[in-house]
Every structure is written in structure tokens, then in C-alpha cells.
């Protein structure tokens, strides 16, 4: 898993490149936690364009980050999920807390 981030016009963008499963969960969680603890943004977009695989362990990681940001009143969105990720998001209701943006 490769992660990258940038802040642009008050939005923190975090991009995930690779596969999000039990193996990559801990690193992904730690990375996201670190950049989300930064300042200079009021919204977060998680870009999944290059995420080639995800399972329910990934849902746990994303919902965990959502809960932390909710305490700070910072909304989190997801962008460009694959059709496989999209189905998991719909099934688990993730979009209800992390809406999809394009």
C-alpha cells in the first residue's frame, strides 16, 4: 500500500494506492491518523482511484477514521471507488457517514 496526501483549498486529500486488507490495515491506519491530526483543512477526501482491492477490514479502518474526525467536526468523503469497493460500501452503509464525491 502506498499512501500520499496534500492539502488544497482547505481540503485534505489522501490517496490510497494498492490493496487494503488485514496486511496493510495497520500501516494505512497509522498513516491516515497522522495526516488527519494535521491542520489547515476543514474537509477530507479519501481518493480510491488506485485502490485495486478492499475487504471488510478496510471498512473498519475507514469507519474508525470517520469516528475520530466526527469528534472534530471534520466531514470525510470518498472518491472514485472501484465497483468492488462500491458494493462493499453500499452493503455496509459506509456512504451514509462518508458520502461519495466525484
Amino acid at each position: 500500500m502506498k499512501l500520499a496526501n496534500k492539502v488544497y483549498k482547505g481540503v485534505l486529500y489522501i490517496s490510497l494506492d494498492g490493496e487494503l486488507d488485514e496486511y496493510s490495515a495497520e500501516y494505512t491506519r497509522t498513516y491516515m491518523e497522522q495526516v488527519m491530526n494535521g491542520t489547515g483543512f476543514t474537509q477530507i477526501v479519501i481518493d480510491l482511484t488506485n485502490l485495486s482491492f478492499m475487504d471488510s477490514t478496510g471498512i473498519g479502518v475507514l469507519i474508525g477514521r470517520y469516528k475520530k474526525m466526527k469528534d472534530k467536526n471534520i466531514p470525510v468523503f470518498v472518491a472514485n471507488p472501484s465497483s468492488q469497493a462500491d458494493r462493499i460500501f453500499k452493503m455496509t452503509g459506509l456512504y451514509q457517514v462518508m458520502p461519495k464525491v466525484s
Partner: protein
């Protein structure tokens, strides 16, 4: 009974590095029957969930052996994933959406629900002698899957 076109068995160590390995192997094996890309992704996702359960729940991240067995037919694949771990106390509860024994570890509790949704058939049983056996079937033809869903 339909003819088995191909089959394999393997044992892997229950460590998370092997998740992508096992789902890759099963996905590649299934591709011999010429399924759609979506079907392969469904299979890989379900396998990943079952393997995660072995690593995280059955063996509590302390390692052990995961047993994988697949049979390929012209129109379906059957996948068995088993462990010798702690077993599941209440299977019907464990398979409920959002039920998890480890919420503090940010587990979603959706593993079995994903397996159920992505495959056409799922059964979860405690193994005689310990551990859990998960058996899953994926049909490659839409007609078969629809028949099963309507109980025919």
C-alpha cells in the same frame, strides 16, 4: 453430480502477508472456468474475508495453519477454508451484520455478510475436533444463481 474439472488443496501459515497470496491463487484457479471479472473479484473478496477470520479470530494473530480446498466445475467453484483455531461460540450471532467480538480493534463485523453477499452459497460450521470450516460456492452462470435464490 457434475464432473470436477480441476481441484487443489493447500495449507498456508495464518499470517496477513498470505491474504493477497491466497485470494490471488483462488482467483487464478477460478479463472480457468472463464468467469467474468466481477465474479473473480467477488470470489477474491470472499476468500479474503474467510482468511482474515482465520488469522484474526481463529488464531488471534498468533499463527497457525489455514487449509484451503477448491473444486472447479464448468459452471461453479466450491471453496473450503478451514482452521484449527478457537472456533465460534455462536455461529448465528457471528454471522449477523455488524456483530464483532473486537470493536476496539476497529473491526467492521461485516466479514460473513460480505461472504454471503458476494457468493451464491455460504455455510459456516465448527469443525469436529476444533476450528471452523467455511464452505462457499460461486456460480458462473446467472441462471444458476437465480434458481438458487428462488429456492428451486
Amino acid at each position: 453430480m457434475e464432473k470436477v474439472l480441476n481441484k487443489f488443496k493447500m495449507e498456508v501459515e495464518a499470517q496477513s502477508e498470505n491474504e493477497s497470496f491466497v485470494r490471488g491463487v483462488v482467483g487464478a484457479f477460478a479463472s480457468q472456468a472463464d468467469p467474468t471479472l466481477d465474479q473473480i473479484n467477488d470470489i477474491k473478496t470472499a476468500v479474503s474475508e474467510a482468511v482474515t477470520n482465520c488469522i484474526v479470530h481463529a488464531y488471534k494473530k498468533k499463527g497457525g495453519t489455514i487449509f484451503v480446498e477448491c473444486e472447479l466445475f464448468a459452471d461453479q467453484i466450491t471453496i473450503k477454508i478451514a482452521d484449527n483455531g478457537v472456533g465460534i461460540e455462536d455461529i448465528s450471532k457471528a454471522t449477523e451484520p455488524f456483530y464483532t467480538t473486537a470493536p476496539e480493534d476497529e473491526r467492521s463485523g461485516m466479514g460473513f455478510t460480505v461472504m454471503q453477499s458476494f457468493m451464491d452459497n455460504l455455510s459456516v460450521n465448527n469443525n469436529f475436533g476444533g476450528g471452523v470450516l467455511v464452505e462457499m460456492t460461486k456460480f458462473f452462470t446467472k441462471e444458476k444463481a437465480a434458481d438458487l435464490a428462488s429456492g428451486e
